[in-house]
Amino acid sequence: MRKISVTTKLKFYSALAIGVILISCFAKWLVPFDPNAQNLSIALMVPNGTHWLGTDMYGRDMLSRIIMGAQTSVLATLFLVCLVSVLGTLLGVFSAYKGGAWDTVCMRMADVCVAFPGLVFAIALASVLGGGILNAVLALTIISWPKYARLARGQALVQLEQDFVKAARLDGTTGFKLLWRFIFPNILDTMLVTALLDFGTLLMELAGLSFLGLGAMPPTAEWGAMLSKGRSMIQTSPWTVLGPGLAIFLAVAIFNLWGEAMRDYFDPNLKRGSRNA
């Protein structure tokens, strides 16, 4: 197999990922049919010439709904992933660096957030704040940040013990400068990979809260919701489920590979071009 350079790989996957994001942003103009137009007389049509991916139970064009669904599914999930991983990483690294009381408080707060049943929290939040996508993202952020914090903290603790970091500290580098130059770059790859690995999970968790009114409200198309609602029809009308399923799979794959390509490119320990180990 021809060895592809790291830079090419990054460019390729970046293009794919940006492509997905662009589709999400411009979905409205890319759809062949109105994704919300119902026509009960053509409900559950098998994929054919007019409707390439068939129609759903209301007679809406599946292809249009999947393209439109990218807007909510991809953008909202990416937003959630960024929010959760950045927040978690920052808190985790600070905990590792500062230690002492800050570390204890932070980590015990993380324990509470993890041990506390997320469902209870989501119900209460939905009850007080109402539904919608933003509230769903908020609920999931509060539920999910501890994992990243723990991981980041663990990684940071390892890095802080490295000789070159100790040397830098002896040299006088402290605080944010130290973290920015020595800690964050070395934990970036693990955190990035973890974050993007969670893309699929978080997408489905967003859909999983919809029974509380949290998440996309009808008639907005959303892949996770399409998958959940369509599951009873997998034997009778499989296209209603395979379409969004495939979309999720592709998005997960693309974002994961993008993350890996970024990791390969930015890894300070690796010499570019000598990937042939």
Partner: protein, 516 residues
């Protein structure tokens, strides 16, 4: 060599004995008939675990699975018929004398007499809050095979309430075991009860007729897809609670399965919030009612597992849909009505507006019953064509929004006539002092009619008054009734004597049989 030979012979001999024994057992005794039944309706979240009818909704389990029986039971038109009772007499407006059949015993041998019924009902009234509220009984006397019930006020629907499964007659002297088993008069006896499974054996002393099946195994399966696949794999002989979308998997395989459906009074209805400024105008409410495509909803989204509703009660009942009138789906008419109410699309955004505000309806519903969100989305689409913006709020937290008044229309599923009697719907939902009159609908004419209904004992006259009341709420568009649901049972072709009932109360009976 010799020893090994002997050992081998001995082994062979033993093996033949075992094979012989097994074989002869199969040859001489009949195979046991075991009926395995999967249902979605049994479990802690339904409050019907265990077989004690005096606890929550467990009476439904007692009657459904053939362990207990009530004095009266409903026929297919939801009319009470004699079951454990054989005759009755209204001594006066407040006193009813019921005579029991003479040949009935509990499964432990105790004879069913007035005293046993008195003990059971008295315990029911003592412990069960819903029952005591419904039955309004002052005292019960027993004389031989007679039971004399005196109510606090005249109660025309007493017999209907006595048909509710909470009134299943059990032997109070035998009591309730720790794992919630009871002794009843039914065709089956409970052997094992847990919160997800019930094992039953046949009651060979059953009073009415011989029981054909030896054992029944009830399994609770709460995931509808798992239930579907368990039916497909052959592990279940019958299933209740399958999603409508799975039914065609079985309906098309006529050699292996049969699908039986029955109309029920479980109805999808939409309640109007009379405190909402948008819905004050009758034309607006009428327009919304005309903007809902009930026929297509029932045909396509319910996959035909329902009948289009006009009023609260299905056609099979004496006061059902065939007696009342409401307007049909008509988007043109909708526009006209809204225009005459002053709503026009002045800014060209597709939605009608007035005084700078779009005509917006907040549709509140819950996802617990899978078809309710389907209704919400299809209504959203058709009303959009009429120029009305529908904002759908489908949440398990719907009570929060009801309490705060943050809704215009609330759509839910309700059993409108659980006891076959029409009065229950109105007293619960539509009168000024009704506890569940969420939309605060008030019409003195309705209250006056109810006053008459509460005193009327004649069945036909009751039906007439009920019809008048139904037409009144339809004219006021206090509620929009969308569909009456059908309940399907799926079973293997070899199963007979098993069919759904409009009340949803009767499932396992002595008629149940399974060919081999």
């Amino acid at each position: 060599m010799h020893n090994t030979g002997k050992k081998l012979l001995a082994l062979l001999f033993v093996a033949m004995c075992i094979a012989g024994c097994g074989g002869s057992k199969n040859a001489t005794t009949n195979r046991e008939k075991v009926f395995t039944y999967g249902t979605i309706a049994y479990g802690p979240q339904h409050n019907d675990v265990g077989l004690n009818p005096h606890e929550g909704y467990s009476g439904w389990s007692t009657v459904r699975y053939g362990v207990g029986e009530t004095l009266f039971k409903f026929d297919d038109a939801m009319e009470p018929r004699y079951w454990l009772a054989q005759s009755m007499e209204h001594v006066n407006a407040k006193t009813l004398k019921i005579t029991l059949k003479d040949n009935i015993t509990f499964s432990n041998g105790r004879k069913l007499d007035g005293q046993a019924v008195k003990e059971c009902l008295e315990d029911l009234l003592k412990v069960h809050d819903r029952a005591s509220g419904d039955l309004k009984i002052a005292k019960i006397d027993a004389q031989g095979q007679d039971v004399i019930i005196t109510t606090k006020t005249p109660l025309p629907a007493l017999i209907n309430y006595l048909s509710d499964p909470y009134a299943a007659i059990i032997d109070m002297q035998a009591g309730v075991t720790a794992d919630k088993k009871v002794i009843g008069t039914g065709p089956f006896i409970a052997e094992k009860v847990s919160d997800s499974e019930i094992e039953l054996v046949k009651n060979s002393k059953y009073w009415e007729k011989p029981v054909k099946v030896d054992k029944v195994h009830v399994k609770a399966i709460h995931d509808s897809d798992t239930l579907t696949m368990a039916m497909q794999s052959g592990e279940l002989d019958a299933a209740q609670g399958l999603p409508y979308s799975s039914l065609e998997l079985f309906a098309k395989d006529k050699n292996s399965y049969q699908v039986l459906t029955e109309d029920t009074s479980r109805t999808f209805l939409a309640t109007m919030n009379f405190l909402s400024p948008v819905l004050q105008n009758l034309y607006v409410r009428q327009a919304i009612a005309m903007g809902i495509d009930k026929a297509n909803f029932t045909k396509v989204l319910l996959k035909g597992n329902g009948t289009t509703a006009i009023g609260p009660f299905p056609t099979g009942m004496a006061f059902g849909d065939f007696k009342v009138f409401a307007s049909k789906f008509d988007l043109v008419g909708t526009r006209k009505l809204l225009e005459s109410a002053g709503w026009k699309d002045t800014d060209g955004d597709g939605y009608l507006d007035k005084d700078g505000e779009n005509l917006t309806i907040r549709w509140l519903t819950y996802p617990g019953r899978a078809e309710l969100p389907l209704l919400a989305e299809t209504v959203q689409a058709t009303l959009k064509q009429a120029g009305i913006k529908v904002v759908v709020n489908s949440t398990a937290n719907f009570r929060d929004f009801l309490k705060r008044g943050e809704w215009d229309i609330y759509a839910n599923a309700m059993v409108t006539a659980p006891t076959g009697d029409p009065e229950y719907f109105f007293t619960t939902m539509a009168l000024e002092k009704s506890a569940l009159n969420r939309g605060k609908y008030v019409n003195p004419k309705l209250d006056a009619l109810e006053a008459k209904l509460s005193q009327e004992f004649d069945k036909n006259k009751r039906a007439n008054i009920a019809v008048q009341m139904e037409q009144q709420i339809l004219n006021d568009v206090a509620f929009i009734f969308v569909a009456h649901l059908k309940m399907p049972f799926v079973m293997k072709k070899i199963v007979t004597g098993f069919r759904p009932h409009p009340s949803d109360y009767y499932e396992i009976t002595a008629d149940l049989d399974k060919d081999f």
